[in-house]
Amino acid sequence: MSKNRIKKATTHVVQNEGLLFEESRPGRIGYSIPKLDVPEQPDDQLLDRRLVRDDDLEGMPELSEVDVIRHFTRLSTWNYCIDHGLYPLGSCTMKYNPRINEKIARIEGFAELHPLTPARLAQGALEVIHHLEKCLAQITGLAAVTSQPAAGAQGEMTGLMMIRAALTERGNPRKKVLIPDSAHGTNPASAVICGYTVETVPSRSDGLTDLDELRKQMSEDVAALMLTNPNTLGKFEQNIREICGIVHEGGGFVYMDGANMNALAGVTKPASFGIDVMHLNLHKTFSTPHGGGGPGAGPVAVTAELEPYLPFPRISRAEDGMLALDFDRPKSVGRVRAFFGNFGVLVRALAYILTHGDSGLREATETAVLNANYIAHHLKDTYDVPYPGRVMHEVVFSDKRQLKYGVRNADIAKRLIDYGFYPPTMSFPLVVHGALMVEPTETEGREELDLFIDAMKSIDGEASEDPALLKHAPLTTKVGRLDEVTAARKPVLKWRSGKGD
């Protein structure tokens, strides 16, 4: 009966697949190399004897090309990805990645460029980075951008290093960083790495930062407030100007975690409400692949006051119009990453920004917010909403209503897999017990959203009728409910051949 409720997914053939080591057959090869047209030299005359293996590569899998292609293709059918459908992993902004980004990133001059190519021969690549930094400065309203950090967390660290450098120059690096209790876990980690202690700012019952508490906590020991806006409950900090004002009056800086920029890009600029420094997650907001498809990029934008502290080298235009690398940056915090970060990601982000333009970015943001509110509206009578009201780009539900049947957030998430969806983010933010955090992004059409809403409602029905079913979900996948607890308690981290032990 319950199977008929599942509209999006069906069961189909999924082939079993062993490890390459297990599929190996002696003598099978996937290459052919032409005969040498020069006299053959014995290995031990070309290489130090100690460097030559004498075990004939024992244990290495021997496979043909078609074996390898089929192996990975079969494995790929076990996977769920954004190209399959909605991937509502809250806080991660799993949006569709337009194929034009990929096409541009594969242009030979970008894809094959050696990172050590001298600047005068890499003008195209430098132009991409320079132009992207300008676009990101315009989107954030801030003065300057570095593209070096390779991910959001590295961006946070870079931002805090700059704050520390600026405060040190003023005479006192200060001791503390204030972080709201709904923050991303990386925020306190970055603060501690930069030598600060962390103090938590509590949120009010509506999920927003408590201004009175912030005023009490602000002191000459506070270097910065790090906050995410909209916050991880999907709420816009309506008092953000006042929040920034309190911190600035106390002589501190405001760092914004730009992870949720997909709710703001093209509509408002963080500089306009008082942000001093922030990172952007290109792999979230600007549609470069996220997750296993990464790598990431976490450019950091700063005010003119913090510009001198940006990592070097900076890209600057010389009088002759050529772009050059400027290492003469005495106040810089130094390099934070080799070259200019993950260049391929930067190319994709620029392609995304330029194909959208101002109005396109605004429309994407508006649609992302609309989609989240559409889901919030249609599920608010079925699932508990701990912080009710209008949301931005994501909505947080909890399992409170299903708990009376013994059904927890994990059971709902696992059952969604049977319905053909990737599960939402679970148990985050920490301020919500049993959280299910849904971020649809703008790339989903109404049909896919409706399917998701139907699935969530249907799962609620199953929770009351047949909770045991949810406890065992997923039921239609290649592998059923995994024992995550034993995997964490007694992890087996190494593959061993069946021989011997």
Partner: protein, 131 residues
């Protein structure tokens, strides 16, 4: 909800304390382990470490999250439950018994009086749930 033992004292951070003269055994409550879910790792201090009341002395990692454990009263660690290294599940299975975490020498016995009784603690978690 499992019965909250009447002979123990409690904190609002969900630790329990069993006081014997100037020494105390500390663990987390049945309610705490239920909220955390399956515990997969427990990080504990070393014997001899000193902590102030309310200072974090270790952490509990479940499949969902990592949570700090706070010192109910100021004191010095005199014994650590090493069994939890290999069997963190004891925190779930027997929170008030084999799942104990540390034994401490109490600095100031007067601090014990400020802790919650089992009835006060039960009321407190009911209030928390109602919020």
């Amino acid at each position: 909800m499992a019965d909250t033992p009447e002979d123990l004292s409690y904190t609002k951070d969900h630790e329990w304390v069993r006081v014997k003269v100037n020494e105390a055994t500390v663990g987390i409550t049945a309610h705490a382990q239920d909220q955390l879910g399956d515990v997969v790792y427990v990080e504990l201090p070393k014997v001899g470490d000193k902590f102030e009341s309310s200072e974090p002395f270790g952490s509990v990692e479940s499949v969902k999250a990592v949570s700090e454990i706070y010192m109910p009263v100021s004191g010095t660690v005199i014994e650590v439950n090493e069994t939890l290294n290999d069997s963190p599940e004891l925190v779930n299975e027997d929170p008030y018994g084999d799942g104990w975490m540390i034994r401490i020498k109490i600095d100031n016995p007067a601090q014990v009086d400020a802790l919650l009784t089992s009835i006060e603690y039960d009321d407190y978690i009911k209030e928390e749930a109602a919020e």
